[in-house]
Subunit: 563 residues, 2 copies
């Protein structure tokens, strides 16, 4: 390999980080190499806040030329949920030119082996990390996340998830040795002896179909899992959230070229408005792996139609919190209030249905009726979002008119316990900012069931009155089984209820957070430790990240001969 950056140097730079990542996924203790604090950036080649902002501003209205083969047009048209027209244009590809070009470099990438691929991926992540401030603005102005969340979730947390995928991919590939000597005794005769060589081989070209709300966080696991296992990766961003992934592709192509590989191993597939190229791409024979985050409808379509590919989907679910009893009523309320408010509930992990017994719950502050619990939660949300500056920092902006429409319609579904409020963002007057609505529903009313058994993506929660704890567990179980769930929360001081909720989650394969009252929220998962989704209920066919997420992205080919 003739490269500006040698394999030796890359290993020296990143091997110890890789080893730490491998240890982290084994112990699942806290670990991250990517600082969360904006002030941690600005040294060792990373952009500080001002430089990151300047880099983002320089992108506005520009043409992002990635130097991709087969570029037949320039397309764009992203409008920030904060009102800004980004005006960035991206290459539009002639697939019959781009896809073959992406295959040209696969042999060298395959032959480089698992370790070298891993350290190249870590170099990509390092350079993305250095530009975290720039990415933060790009994520903010495509997803509508508030700056701090865009910075953390779109920056270090996304990079963590990418690195986690690299670690899983690496360890999976090295489980089989490169070579083996096999000698089988034959009694008095000479033993049979074979020399065997094992090579991880990629499946082909992997397609990442990005989402609007978490372009990097949800995009990086598939991107890096596929790349680290030897595949080329075509990134098809959501039309409203192209920039963060286009910047990622640019960095990846730079690093690949500098390390002596073909930059076309990673490419972008941007589309014209309404072109809908995901379906075309997903069924191309060259595409052998698909990672998708988005609607259940299109996820189901992919699973049914992209039969030539391994398909990993994160679709929609209905997330439940069972509110049975608590030893920290205030902590519970403020924890839930934060969970419902963060990014205006536009997370696949935001709780939707709060199941509260109609006879009320027991708390450290005495028994609380169903109405009291709901009213106190409403007050807690109101308190959290009472200050407009804090509300803006927490809520971000409503990402699409659809979400706004859903929020407005939700008030008609039942008694409104907390009405949604419009908030002005002084920095971005064009932003649509809304506080969450909480609607009371009755679990026993068939009419209400249609509402709480459907995903209502956005700042909408239902306080569902249930008959009893066991009724709550039964509804939880049915919701996960029929609708899927990315998260489940429960508050209870009763060991039997805890046991029943836990058993429902084990049987329906849902990830459970119990009695969270502090600074960790049910909608947040930490890479290297928490699983995001389970891959075992209808919300997602894969979990981030585990062996199953990487093991089928490559195959092992054996060449054996007599020793």
């Amino acid at each position: 390999m003739t490269a500006a950056l040698s394999a030796h140097e890359l290993i020296a730079r990143h091997r110890s980080t890789l080893d730490q990542a491998l240890e982290a996924i084994r112990t699942r203790a806290y670990w991250s190499p990517h600082p969360e604090h904006p002030k941690a950036y600005g040294e060792h080649g990373s952009l500080d806040a001002a430089a990151g902002k300047a880099a983002f501003d320089a992108l506005l209205g520009s043409r992002l030329d990635l130097g991709q083969p087969g570029t037949d047009d320039w397309v764009g048209g992203e409008t920030s949920p904060y009102g800004l027209d980004l005006g960035v244009t991206y290459p539009h590809a002639d697939l019959d030119v781009l896809l073959p070009a992406m295959k040209a470099g696969q042999r060298a990438w395959r032959d480089a082996g698992a370790e070298q691929r891993a350290v190249v991926c870590l170099e990509i992540l390092k350079r993305v990390s250095d530009r975290t401030h720039e990415f933060a603005h790009a994520v903010m102005h495509t997803s509508g996340q508030a700056f701090m969340m865009a910075f953390q979730a779109g920056g270090p947390h996304a990079q963590d998830r990418g690195m986690e995928a690299v670690a899983y991919a690496y360890v999976e590939q090295v489980r089989t040795p490169d070579n083996a000597e096999w000698t089988k005794p034959q009694g008095k005769r000479d033993p049979l002896a074979l020399t065997k060589q094992f090579t991880p081989v990629p499946r082909g070209i992997a397609l990442v179909i990005g989402c609007n709300t978490f372009p990097t966080w949800n995009g990086y696991p598939g991107l890096f899992a596929s790349l680290a296992t030897g595949n080329a990766v075509l990134v098809k961003p959501h039309p409203r959230a192209v920039l963060p992934l286009a910047l990622t592709v640019r960095v990846a192509r730079e690093v690949l070229a500098e390390t002596g590989f073909d930059p076309n191993l990673v490419a972008l597939a941007a589309e014209r408005p309404g072109e809908g190229i995901a379906k075309t791409l997903a069924t191309r024979p060259e595409i052998r792996i698909i990672d998708y985050t988005g609607s259940t409808e299109f996820g189901d379509w992919l699973e049914a139609h992209a039969r030539q590919a391994q398909v990993y989907t994160e679709k929609a679910g209905v997330n439940t919190v069972v509110v049975h009893s608590t030893a920290d009523y205030k902590g519970m309320l403020s924890n839930l209030a934060f969970s419902l408010s963060l990014y205006s509930g536009q997370m696949c992990t935001t709780p939707q249905n709060l199941l509260v017994p109609r006879e009320g719950i027991s708390t450290d502050q005495g028994p609380k009726s169903y109405d009291e619990v709901v009213a106190d939660l409403a007050k807690s949300v109101d308190g959290l979002l009472g200050d407009d500056a804090r509300a803006n920092a927490l809520l971000g902006a409503i990402v699409t008119p659809d979400v706004k429409a859903r929020l407005e319609a939700a008030a008609g579904l039942g008694e409104v316990a907390l009405a949604s409020r419009e908030i002005t963002n002084p920095d971005f007057p064009g932003a649509v900012v809304r506080t969450p609505v909480i609607v009371k529903l009755d679990g026993a009313k068939p009419d209400d069931e249609a509402a709480y058994m459907s995903e209502c993506f956005g700042p909408v929660s239902f306080a569902v009155a249930v008959d009893s704890a066991s009724d709550a567990v039964e509804l939880l179980r049915r919701t996960v089984r029929e609708k899927g769930a990315m998260t489940v929360g429960a508050y209870t001081t009763d060991p039997e209820v805890e046991r029943d909720v836990r058993e429902a989650c084990l049987e329906e394969a849902a990830q459970l957070s119990l009695n969270l009252t502090g600074g960790v929220y049910v909608n947040q998962t930490a890479a290297f430790s928490d699983f995001h989704g389970s891959g075992g209920n209808p919300a997602a066919s894969a979990a981030l990240c585990d062996g199953a997420f990487v093991a089928n992205r490559f195959r092992v080919v054996e060449v054996r001969r007599e020793a």
Copy 2:
């Protein structure tokens, strides 16, 4: 757990074997705990040859009552390819009773954890191993394999593959710790601290759809992979090869009961003639995993229709041997002759197309023309099978009339280089025994392509004349890509040809055996070391055995709470 056989005792019995298996799949050096020689049995509780035969004889004409719930009938009707009517009847199940009963014990099986499940599986395999002589007859009289092959492939080799699956399943489940303490620093504030509990949970009921030719060898990997990962397993044998799997189910149920688990975690689904219950079973919502070995047609059907399940298929392929040049002409011929003859070519791994340059090949015995190579191979097969006793011991019996019909039709496809011969089996006059046919085809003739590009399962090989080594490699590549291949062989002394064949195999994901001239054959793979199939070409969606084969049979559910 109250059980005749405690967890402690099982671990003491089997943990060291499990550890050796774990080491073997890591190094892929030779290892097996299951003796291949029939005389190795008869001590330490295992049946010797006479006792095994007696046990088999006692089964004939009997009702194999497994004590399964929901048994609504007794069905059977196996006829041995050696002519014998087995006369064994098996429980026929009312699925609406049996399937719920299979779920009843899943919680305890799940809660037992990965290690205990592994040692229970190893105890099942140990008891199967002890009855290897009995199984040998059962496999012989269902598959048509000759006794020695039925003994080895149906006994120790199948048990090895089962144990290999247990080892992979175990290591995959313990990659995530049972518990983790997660402490995230928060600057000057108190750290965030969570306690996390991780539990491998099964997907549900797994279905194993067995095949006629290798009921145990192809059935055990899926059976043990699913059981070891916490699933219940329903075994649906091929209607002509029920007995070996029914005996396996009986042993599994005994061991489960003795170890304190619900025997209904493993059950048999035998069917009435023509009932075709596989389709019904495969689409039941309770069935979440399917392992299938058989025709491409039904494998494709399963992949398309059993959408509620993880589907692992081994279908048909067209196996190629590139014959380019050799430094051991005699060794090559005798190695190939054995490969073509073993079990009358009724292995998914038997070579079908021998690609030979039409201008001939270079050998240690001088250049050999295409005609000479084919004639010499024919002579070698004739020599190998010249003695009827040896021929019977190697060929076994033709398993179905279909195979016989295909063999007879093959002679009409081109010039016959070696005609098939009828052989009498003095012990079993009813057996249909045939030597292989070798037919000459021309790779350049479109008419011949229809023959060599279709799988012709049975003792039929095509000596396909090709224009050059690169023509051979191109045809190899196309065959694997379009038709799939379980095995590829190549003979060449030319490093460039070797490189090209190897590259084709890496790119099309096919397992390659190079220049085999001794006692290892392209159609044989050894558990713990060789991969059977690659899971990367149309012949099979999975490889035996690797991480991908086990990783998605369970999911990990996390329960987290504040520390």
